[in-house]
């Protein structure tokens, strides 16, 4: 278990698929609509050393900074991911496989892909200590949120050295047969 705090630097390049991470510090959410807008209108914030979280939270109940906030399927952001990496992004947080083009860009720019547990929205929401909208308030649940998180449980899903949990692990548990 590795405890790390954002902003992140070149150290992420040594992380390996399967490493568990407890992440603290500032992260930014962005999902489909926000990515589309960044691609069209330019970046609303400097991504250098930052982590993007593919997520759209549920509204904050009274007395809480935010509602539930688990990851959405990262693959839908594949086309946009290299744009953010070119700006210095060091980590992407989401769920599910990534396209080869994303994995290539990760190696080129030194960025890791971390998986949060899909559907563990309440548990991940409890890790958020502060939240404010950083850009695109008109997008509602798809706005870019600046979150301050504490010990967010993650696992390195794809690293910069070619390791990929989604490819290396299932075959170990696969049984013959199938149909």
């Amino acid at each position: 278990m590795r405890e790390v705090t954002t902003p992140l630097g070149p150290e992420v390049e040594s992380w390996q698929a399967g490493d568990r991470i407890l992440l603290s510090g500032v992260i930014y959410t962005a999902r489909d609509a926000a990515h589309q807008r960044m691609a069209q209108e330019g970046m609303p914030l400097p991504w250098q050393g930052q982590a993007v979280y593919y997520a759209g939270p549920s509204p904050a109940p009274p007395g809480r900074p935010i509602g539930s906030v688990g990851p959405t399927t990262s693959g839908r952001m594949d086309a946009f991911a290299p744009l953010l990496m070119a700006q210095g992004l060091r980590a992407m947080i989401g769920k599910g496989e990534r396209a080869d083009s994303v994995v290539e860009a990760m190696r080129k720019y030194g960025c890791v892909y971390l998986a949060a547990i899909g559907g563990a929205g309440a548990l991940l929401g409890e890790c958020v200590k502060e939240a404010e909208i950083a850009a695109y308030p008109d997008l509602g649940p798809e706005a870019v949120w600046r979150l301050v998180v504490e010990k967010m449980p993650l696992v390195v899903a794809i690293d910069c050295q070619g390791g990929n949990l989604y490819q290396s692990e299932p075959p170990k548990y696969r049984k013959g047969g199938g149909c």
Binding site: G121, L165, Y166, K172
Partner: protein, 280 residues
């Protein structure tokens, strides 16, 4: 003739949506605990433990199980001796959804048009399937449906001669291609027969069953078990990080079909399996 005021429907729908988003559907907690005892992969065990913690947090606290509180699907069986008063049936159901999502801090995930994509602001409309049945009761199944798993669902129009093996292949292919995206372990709803749309509706209806409840027809129940065993050989595991438990349960519903066809719909439901039943 029994009169039911539609405000009662609104109230019950609202309450069921809220409950569903905070409390795992019937059978799911047991399924998670059982999976934890079966799973061999250390990462898989870690995922299942976090999901059990997540369920506890959501049930006790103000945060819903998952931030994707879904698009609401409602199955309704309305007794033919019921007379609704005080408004419009579909509007009354939608009002219940609106109330739960606006007042209950649930995420509004519905856009008013699939192409122009403006958020409707209150998670309406729901998708409503109404059947008229004998009697004077109203039964509702309220299922907020997340789209991580919905997006990985599939329809196959098989040739009749493909038979049981064809159905198995279709389901295994769907679950295999979905990988980690539908938040496995999943519950797999299968609709076999009918017409194209009927197969899809049956697949969704299969998910309304308490998790792990077998089909009443023993031959179908046997097939459910065989398919589940095939799925759990895939190795996808919890969250797609590898493991023995890829699906918790397979639920199959069937309907007569045409001599020329074998429609098969596969609807995936993530571990945030949300369904509530209400009887009025």
């Amino acid at each position: 003739m029994r009169e039911i005021h539609l405000s009662k429907v609104t109230e019950e729908v609202a309450r069921a949506c809220l409950r569903a988003c905070h409390r795992l559907g019937e059978g799911m907690k047991e399924a998670l605990a059982h999976a934890r005892s079966q799973e061999e992969s250390p990462l898989g065990q870690w995922v299942l433990e976090q999901l059990l913690d997540n369920a506890q947090l959501a049930e006790a606290g103000p945060l819903p199980l998952c931030q994707d509180t879904g698009m609401v699907v409602v199955f309704a069986q309305i007794g033919q001796d019921v007379h609704f008063t005080g408004g419009n049936w579909e509007e009354a159901v939608a009002e219940g959804v609106r109330k739960a999502y606006v007042e209950g801090n649930l995420r509004k995930s519905v856009v008013s048009h699939p192409l122009w994509r403006e958020n409707s602001g209150d998670n309406t409309p729901p998708v409503i399937h109404t059947r008229i049945v004998p009697g004077d009761e109203v039964k509702l199944w309220i299922m907020p449906k997340g789209f991580g798993s919905e997006n990985k669902s599939r329809l196959f129009m098989l040739n009749p001669t493909e038979g049981v093996e064809g159905v198995k292949r279709a389901v295994v292919q769907t679950v295999s291609e979905a990988g980690g995206s539908p938040c496995p372990p999943t519950v797999v709803g299968i609709g076999v027969g009918g017409t194209m749309e009927q197969a899809c509706i049956l697949a969704k209806w299969a998910l309304a069953r308490p998790v792990g409840q077998k089909a009443p027809d023993p031959k179908v129940a046997q097939l459910e078990q065989e398919i589940l065993e095939e799925l759990n050989k895939l190795g996808i595991g919890p969250a797609g990080f590898g493991g023995r438990v890829t699906s918790f349960a397979v639920h199959m519903e069937t309907y007569p079909t045409h001599i020329a066809g074998l429609p098969v719909a596969v609807n995936l439901l993530c571990h945030a399996a949300r369904h509530e039943q209400v009887v009025l």
